[in-house]
């Protein structure tokens, strides 16, 4: 004990730490410790948590446009406790904003901003702006669709500043458009400039707080105590409560079984595909909603955006900063309270309206659902295959499940349908003029095609020139007159033709029905059903005038027909409006392959390896 004491005095004589510690711990708390004083400490605590977790995230984060999302993905899914670390950082950031508001309210309600504490109040306002800046810059760093498109809106607003707006925006995003330099800049601001400023202003804030002493809420109910341990105990309880809430939000998806725990990571930023459900962080939603207000444009014309995004928020900030001055006036304090109440009520209302509006829009829900589907798939792809050096967007572009439906929407859905929809879950209003391709070449699809009631509907040949040709006439005339034996043969033919496709979904069925399929093949080749009168099946037939049934619906067959439906193997000169996608350079062979895989339901991860 003695030796330890001697050592501590040695340190103290050289550093004077005891005095410092005494000053830090034995600050007087007039009127006793109270819960309303905890907000400042919780903010210091959350700032400390952000610095620690932020530095560790920094060790794994890579700020460039094909490494940012990828490194965050790695942190989230492949590092020990990475999801927890990122989740804590994400939700503690949000907690800071809430705590700042509570701290501000407490200071204003208690009148703690009045003389001689004005300067300290202004330091607090600087810290508030820093935290909002951190939130804004941090939102872009994961470089996912949500952050990318929401930040674009935010940085486009900078451009409405008169005269210097466009230049300011260019400096801020590091060029003419988003890219590597946007990330390096946002990251430097997020991890360097703003935390640095905050450390300085937090120190000044605490220094002035100690200089002027704690502003006690009158009336003092109890005798004075020291900061340690009475107030510290309350502060510790509050900090623990904050962290418990943060952890609750991190674990919420797991607790409620709605997904992966931790902060959300959407699909990677893709400049060619806008994400319509991109929204800013929830505490900026009121501004987002405010800018939608029609009256801004009605009243201010094309200055509407400037007024809504810069002038009005600027005035609000000026009033906020001016509160210590306004407070000197007789009714000033009441005005300040009223102003804060009105501001938060307004922001709350706008936030509510904004969420209510999104909830009412089916496109919004569809967009969010699509993003969830993409991130889920990408997570499997990236874990199984690793991410190519070009980035995760390239990985998505090579996946049939993700890229197939997009290609279908763009290239096929103007005539074809997929289960009555466009391939991505939307109904289309224009007329369907070509077959519905969902389940193409499956037994069900073929059975419906060969159904006299269905073949001439728009789901098959109804909308095409083939509506009046041999196949439709054959089905409509012959099939209704079939004997039970012929119906059985038709069934065999369907099984045999469908087996040509070797669809992944029918793998078990096809191998179980090998005998049925073999009989079906015989039925086709021995002309019992007249198929080979027009079609060719498993042997060359120069006189075939209808699409080849050899390998019907297989990957090779589908690629070939999409590439060139005019080829004699398919429709030849009789082709209707089907473009020759490869011959006319509409799609690459790789894209056609993705479409074929998707139509066949073959989603096995086929990424060129090595």
């Amino acid at each position: 004990m003695k030796k330890a004491d001697a050592f501590l005095s040695w340190i103290d004589s050289r550093t004077g730490y005891k005095k410092l510690l005494n000053e830090a711990l034995y600050e007087n708390v007039p009127g006793g410790a109270r819960w309303r004083y905890v907000w400042g400490s919780t903010l210091t605590f959350t700032f400390f948590v952000q610095i620690i977790t932020g530095i560790i995230l920094w060790m794994a984060y890579s700020p460039n446009s094909h490494g940012a999302w990828e490194s965050v993905f790695y942190i989230q899914n492949q590092m020990w406790g990475g999801w927890l670390l990122r989740g804590i950082h994400h939700f503690t950031g949000q907690a800071m904003t809430i705590l700042l508001v509570l701290h501000l309210l407490q200071v204003v309600i208690d009148g703690a901003y009045k003389a001689p504490r004005e300067v300290n109040y202004w330091f607090g306002i600087v810290l508030l702006v820093c935290v909002l800046g951190l939130s804004l810059t941090g939102y872009l760093l994961p470089w996912d669709q949500k952050g990318y498109w929401a930040s674009k809106v935010a940085t486009n607003i900078i451009a409405v500043v008169p005269f210097i707006g466009p230049a300011l925006q260019k400096v801020f995003i590091g060029g003419n458009d988003y890219g590597h330099l946007t990330l390096t800049r946002f990251f430097a601001i997020h991890a360097g400039v703003l935390p640095g400023l905050m450390i300085v202003f937090t120190a000044l804030h605490i220094y002035l707080f100690r200089k002027h002493g704690l502003h006690a809420k009158a009336p003092k109910r109890r005798p004075d105590v020291k900061f340690w341990p009475d107030q510290v105990l309350m502060d510790a309880v509050a900090c623990l409560a904050v962290m418990t809430v943060v952890l609750f939000f991190v674990l919420k998806p797991r607790l409620f079984g709605t997904g992966m725990p931790g902060a959300d990571l959407g699909p990677p930023a893709n400049p060619t595909e806008a994400y319509s459900a991109a929204r800013p962080e929830w505490y900026f939603m009121f501004l987002f909603q405010f800018l939608k207000a029609g009256w801004l444009v009605k009243v201010f014309g094309h200055y509407g955006e400037l007024v809504g995004a810069i002038i009005i928020p600027g005035i609000a900030m000026a009033i906020l900063a001016g509160m210590p001055i306004i407070g000197r006036w007789k009714l000033g304090h009441r005005f300040n309270l009223g102003f804060l109440a009105a501001m938060f009520a307004g922001a709350g209302l706008l936030t509510y309206l904004s969420y209510a509006e999104d909830r009412g829009k089916p496109e919004f829900a569809a967009s969010v659902k699509q993003a969830e589907h993409e991130s889920e798939r990408l997570r499997h792809l990236a874990v199984a295959k690793g991410i190519p050096p070009e980035g995760a967007v390239a990985l998505m572009k090579r996946d049939a499940l993700l890229e197939g439906p997009k290609l279908f929407v763009k290239n096929c859905a103007s005539c074809h349908r997929y289960g009555g929809e466009d391939g991505m879950g939307s109904k289309l209003t224009d007329a369907q003029t070509a077959p519905d391709l969902k389940g193409f070449a499956s037994r069900e699809w073929l059975a419906a095609f060969l159904d006299p009631k269905q073949i001439a509907t728009s789901n098959f040949y109804g909308g095409t020139r083939f509506a009046a040709t041999k196949m439709v006439k054959f089905v409509q005339k012959n099939v209704p007159a079939y004997t039970p034996e012929q119906h059985q043969q038709l069934k065999q033919v369907i099984a045999a033709v469908s087996a040509e496709a070797a669809l992944p979904a029918q793998r078990v069925l096809d191998s179980a029905d090998a005998a049925l399929i073999a009989t079906g093949r015989n039925v086709i080749t021995n002309e019992a059903m007249n198929c080979t009168e027009c079609h060719q099946f498993r042997k060359e037939d120069e006189n075939a005038i209808a699409p080849d049934l050899t390998g019907f619906g297989s990957r090779e067959w589908l690629i070939a027909i999409i590439a060139d439906a005019k080829h004699p193997r398919f429709y030849g000169r009789r082709n209707d409006r089907m473009p020759s996608f490869a011959e006319q350079n509409i799609l690459t062979r790789e894209q056609i392959g993705l479409l074929a895989d998707w139509l066949r339901g073959d989603f096995e991860i086929k990424i060129a390896e090595r």
Binding site: G81, I88, M243, K385, G386, P389, R610
Partner: protein, 186 residues
């Protein structure tokens, strides 16, 4: 604690209630940082979880026809797929080797990395040996240390060579830990 405490608290004997307060303040504070500190430590120490690849990477380096039987070492890059954190690259340089072919003898492959501190050794044509440019370790053409003053703890690391399809030279590429006497995969 009800009486006025404006006196010097720190010198007052710590009563039971005061101790309880201090203890709980410390405990609750520690609990509050447990999550963030724990998660930070886990991510910080994540590299320890990454296993060393010890089986080597079999790579085709060149062909017999392009490697003369003159006993002169020639340097070849090793190009292979590589997993670097989140990225998987199909074909990137992962190292280099010296190949040496003599008439009637098996082909010899040496990792170019000096086992002392990890610099790349150079083939000194004039002296007919390998010289490490960092700390002057020298090695004979068969990779053994040929100067007792060399700081390297072992000779150059020899790698397994396979000839396939009569002409292809395949090498099982592996790096080894520098600074130790034994060949420990790194």
């Amino acid at each position: 604690m009800e009486e006025k405490c404006s006196c010097d608290c720190k010198s007052a004997p710590p009563d039971r209630r005061g101790f309880l307060k201090r203890f709980s303040a410390g405990l609750l504070g520690a609990l509050a940082v447990l999550g963030p500190i724990g998660a930070s430590l886990a991510v910080l120490l994540d590299p320890l979880r990454r296993k060393v690849e010890t089986s080597g990477t079999l790579v085709q380096v060149t062909t017999l026809t392009s490697l003369p039987e003159d006993g002169i070492p020639r340097k070849f890059p090793i190009v292979s797929s590589r997993v670097d954190a989140w990225n998987r690259s199909p074909a990137v340089p992962i190292g280099a080797i010296y190949l040496r072919r003599q008439k009637g003898k098996p082909i010899q492959a040496l990792n170019v990395v000096c086992p002392h501190a990890g610099c790349f050794v150079d083939y000194a044509a004039g002296k007919n040996n390998f010289l490490c440019p960092c700390h002057n370790s020298t090695f004979a053409l068969d990779g053994t240390i040929n100067d007792p003053n060399s700081p390297s703890p072992r000779g150059l690391d020899e790698l397994t060579v396979e000839v396939r399809n009569e002409n292809e030279i395949w090498v099982k590429f592996q790096n080894y830990r520098a600074g130790v006497t034994g060949k420990v995969p790194a």
